[in-house]
């Protein structure tokens, strides 16, 4: 009797404690396979509903989307023509100097079916998973360049961490002068290129690409362009603003 009264008196606190323990266990076991599997399974179920709803929304944007795709198609056709010429020229040059042809990227098309944008946290949910032969840490690219990487991969749904996330880092170089650095996003419309010593040859408009030094991102993926550079006598490194490409 006394126990019952005690339980009903402290019921709210016990429920709070119980829920806090469960939540904290989930937070602390984020790397646990079972927890990830459960989350991705749940995301798959919910994602299917979301996919259906977004398909209705897509219907109303078809005309506009068509117009954009038509323009993009024309632009790409022109670029393709120029690239075909360059490819042939490149092949001839490679043959001359005996370079082996570099491996091509295998691309898997994916659709964004969910987005999360809370301040400095930016991620998206994609409709691809292990059944599409994708795996953790694979880079995500659009026609303009690097967007992010796969963070959690389920059977048919995945989560991707975007370049515009506070915890995302990529080793990069300037295409023209091969100056190395690390790109990071700290809020706002621009990214920053860190770890570049002062007086390095970096100019506004320089194209930034992935360096390929890490094991995650292949070399030469476009990341953005240099928007501005500045140096301070008090600091060892340059301040470089990067306009990301997507």
């Amino acid at each position: 009797m006394k126990t019952d009264r005690l339980f009903s008196y402290y019921k709210d606190y016990l429920v709070l404690l119980f829920l806090v323990i469960i939540s904290m266990s989930l937070v602390l076991s984020n790397q646990n396979k079972q927890v990830t599997y459960f989350k991705l399974w749940l995301a798959g179920v919910m994602g299917s509903f979301q996919e259906g709803i977004s398909a209705i929304g897509d219907y109303f944007y078809l005309a506009k989307k068509n117009e954009i795709l038509l323009l993009q198609n024309t632009r790409l056709a022109l670029e393709n023509e120029a690239m075909r010429e360059l490819r042939l020229e490149n092949a001839r040059l490679r043959e001359l100097i005996g370079f082996r042809e570099k491996s091509k990227l295998n691309l898997v098309a994916a659709k964004v079916i969910g987005k999360k944008k809370r301040g400095f946290i930016n991620d998206i949910m994609l409709n691809v998973g292990t059944i599409d032969s994708v795996s953790k840490n694979m880079p995500i690219v659009v026609s303009d360049g690097l967007v992010g990487k796969l963070h959690q991969v389920g059977k048919n749904k995945s989560f991707a961490q975007l370049l515009l996330d506070q915890n995302f880092r990529v080793s990069i170089i300037t295409q023209r002068s091969r100056v190395k650095g690390i790109i990071a996003w700290k809020g706002g419309s621009y990214c920053v290129m860190n770890e570049v010593p002062k007086r390095s040859d970096v100019k506004v408009g320089d194209l930034i690409v992935t360096s390929g030094f890490g094991e995650i991102f292949p070399e030469g993926l476009q990341v953005g362009t240099v928007e501005s550079t500045s140096e301070s006598p008090r600091e060892l490194f340059m301040k470089i603003k990067i306009k990301h490409c997507f």
Binding site: V20, S23, L26, K39, K117, I121, D123, Q166, K186, G187
Partner: protein
């Protein structure tokens, strides 16, 4: 990319408004359970720490229960001020835990995210109050 209601990277936390309204109407235990599952649902759609939204939502609903009035009738001023505190507290806890070990300083987080997000979510919260005013807050009490 287009985000619903997003202004300069800031989005209102509609689930937070929902659980706070529940906490003002319901008993503490069911409100905490609803908050836990709502938070878990929010966690499912993000790649960051699974369970973090559930944890912060449960804590905030527990704190919110102390603001519940016995009559369950709230003036706009009381509702707005208490929501302002609760949303700010929630964002503070959530962002603080998430940013632990990150490079973004607390001050920057506060100015560029927590405060604007609190105000933006509060605007939606006040809108919810005005829309649901008759249905939820000011139902006449039957006197025997």
């Amino acid at each position: 990319m287009i985000y619903l209601f997003a202004i300069y990277n800031i989005t209102p936390d509609l689930i937070l408004i929902f659980v706070l309204i529940i906490s003002y109407k319901e008993e503490r235990t069911p409100a905490m359970l609803i908050a836990f599952f709502a938070g878990l649902l929010q966690d499912v759609f993000s790649a960051d720490f699974f369970g973090l939204a559930a944890l912060t939502k449960v804590i905030i609903v527990f704190v919110a229960s102390f603001f519940q009035l016995p009559t369950k009738k709230y003036s706009l001023l009381y509702y707005t001020m208490s929501f302002l505190f609760l949303i700010f507290f929630h964002d503070l806890v959530y962002q603080f835990i998430y940013a632990l070990g990150g490079e973004i300083g607390f001050f920057k987080l506060l100015i560029f995210y927590i405060l604007p997000s609190t105000i933006y979510t509060l605007i939606f919260g006040v809108m919810a109050y005005l829309i649901l005013k008759r249905k939820l807050w000011q139902k006449p009490i039957n006197v025997e």
